[in-house]
Amino acid sequence: PGPQERILLRSLGLSAKPSPSSPGPVPPVLWRIFHKRRTLARPGEPQSCRVEEFHVPGDIVRVFADRGRFLPEGQPPGRLCLRKLLFFNLSALEEGERLTMAQLELRFHHNSYQPASPGQVLELRLYRASPGGLPRPGRSPLVERSFVQLRKSLPLDLSAALKDGAAPGSNLALVLEISAGGDGGTPRSPCGSSDAFAATSLLLVTLGPRCRAARGRR
């Protein structure tokens, strides 16, 4: 790239021109925010450095794809339905960016219309993982909750849990476990609709150095 392009890229906060190798689909939430901003934008109206959709300060919204892998269940069969290492490459975060929101999204292949019978309740636990991909011993889970998989998407707020950890330039490894909840699930399908699990992604909102400076100026 010529010197002008490098200057322009740097003014856009990019050290080099991105060359995506296998770009995935754009998450609907980003399209919604993008289109809303375009339709609401009025000349001269300084858009504040806030992401109104999440009610947090921020000028950069990123969705990181999960690069992890499924782990052997280990635990005696029957209760544990799914165990997955979630791995997010956060190297795109720049020095000076401040994390203001983190949301993990679990996506399922389809909505589930089965009536939520007692056996359909699932237990979810999310741990920080060691580099080897195992829950750090003795650490309580970041998130522990039961849920009934009804919709294709289940958002989990990790803002508080990650405020200290996702320092710019680091990677993030988590272990996700989904177990049969309640009385161990109906004999026919103890794991209920967790089979419909499709993928996870991590949405981060950060306040970049420019906006932080502008807010400071104000």
């Binding site: 991105p18 060359s19 995506p20 770009p23 000349p43």
Partner: protein
Amino acid sequence: SPPSPPLTPSPLCKPRRLYISFSDVGWENWIIAPQGYLANYCGGDCPFPLAAELNSTNHAVLQTMVHSLDPQGTPQPCCVPVRLSPISILYYDNSDNVVLRHYEDMVVDECGC
């Protein structure tokens, strides 16, 4: 209706149309949206006496006066953006993550001397 007077481009300082197409700069493979946007730029003169609508500073008024007395010695004031708007850009970064980023001061709305 009488023919409208030919649109002679005003020599005065004001925003001029500039559409930036990201495919023209070879960025279409990583910028998802928009494909381009109306950035505009400021062009035109800041002559003496500075008309009220020219959005000028007191300093510019004085500079135009001195320029009219001594054109060689003192240049005219510059025509620069005085009000800008932000835009948001949706793009892929180097790790194929999707990024929505807000950029301040990307569109020229108003110019002044």
